[in-house]
Symmetry: C2
Subunit: 225 residues, 2 copies
């Protein structure tokens, strides 16, 4: 059965992003600690081999295999469509000044499927190389999920983020499963992943936990009501 899923990284003190997000610091100033476990994996490096230069981090061309790598790869398995908040798509605010901003993932983004971007400002869809097409949805989170589910055609829909978008879908009771990586780092300030949301009241429980090499991974699932 298809699911609505989230995969996200949080700090020990519960932040999903650091303050002062920008083009230079997409996860906020200091927020890159949330990505360290990802950047180290073989899957991430292969994914960005053509476009990005991460493959030479730490002198490890190939990246690490293991639990972190397996779980990062699993984030992309059986996903048929993505939903992003406007903030996750990029730093442009307000009306689109032109069509030049096409995300921060190069010409061939790793999503390989339709990506529905929540925005208040209409824009033509952008087909990218490798199967990713960015669509812009101006009529709310429910409609975005309807369109994503239709596009996913029986596969899962992944809510990519950011924190505010995930919280909106959580409050609406629309997320089946959260895969969280708890990173061994403090952020101190930024966007609180859980905010004031009572996940127990919403029906979630922790169903799996496994220690990776650079993060602890937990799965939170919602009971069928």
């Amino acid at each position: 059965m298809s699911k609505v899923r989230v995969s996200f990284s949080v700090s020990i003190d519960g932040f999903g992003a650091a303050p002062q997000q920008s083009l230079e610091n997409p996860m906020g100033v200091g927020g890159e600690v949330l990505g360290e476990w990802v950047f180290a994996t073989r899957t991430f490096r292969r994914m960005h081999d053509k476009d990005w230069t991460f493959q030479r981090i730490d002198g490890e061309h190939g990246g690490a295999t293991g639990i972190d790598d397996d779980l990062f790869a699993r984030r992309f398995l059986n996903v048929g469509a993505w939903i992003f908040g406007r903030n996750m798509f990029g730093p442009v605010r307000g009306p689109w000044p032109d069509n030049s901003w096409k995300g921060a993932w190069g010409d061939s983004p790793p999503f390989r499927n339709p990506v529905f971007v929540l925005t208040h400002y209409a824009r033509e869809s952008i087909p990218m190389q490798g199967g990713t097409t960015f669509h812009f949805v101006t009529d709310g989170i429910d409609r975005a999920l309807e369109r994503a589910a239709a596009a996913a055609d029986g596969k899962d829909v992944c809510i990519g983020g950011g924190v505010s978008t995930i919280q909106q879908y959580l409050r609406a009771g629309l997320i089946d499963e959260l895969n969280l990586a708890i990173c061994p780092a403090l952020l101190g300030s930024g966007e609180r992943f859980f905010g004031d949301i009572d996940l127990v009241k919403l029906g979630y429980r922790c169903t799996q936990h496994v220690a990776g090499e650079r993060a602890t991974h937990v799965v939170l699932e919602r009971r069928a009501s």
Copy 2:
């Protein structure tokens, strides 16, 4: 060098206690999930062998050894004195009605050292069996720490809790090291361990993380300023 330390358990969603704490539910309703990794250890069971009946949980008389057990045992190593909030000492509120309440740990509490209890209401010290004496401090957290440090005589002082007491000492910059066990469970509501405290601004960083059998353990240390 002697340290001021904290050892505490938190849920994935950052709670250090569940709501509705009482005599029956000292960690709040549902809060016992924060203690599961402790209850399973050999150290905990031996500690309570005489007074309590935990040793027969799960049919394991002896309790588990391993990483959780090692780290739980380490909580008590080199500790020369403890500080407890009034709430942690017990459910009695307001002026002490009499001297009958002596904590929830039986005649021979596992602390084996002086325990300084923060309270607004003076009370005679209570010597218990096995080396624990409860002292009652009515002149604030700084004075309690002074007395505890003197009593510890070069060993560490452990702030036992609860959440509110730990937060007061954190804000005052008086804690050197936090040992947190992140439990694979959600609480949804209760006392937020980190509250609105910015641990990065206070100088803390994560210096160790290790996966135990039933919890992930992290050490947060404050840089010498």
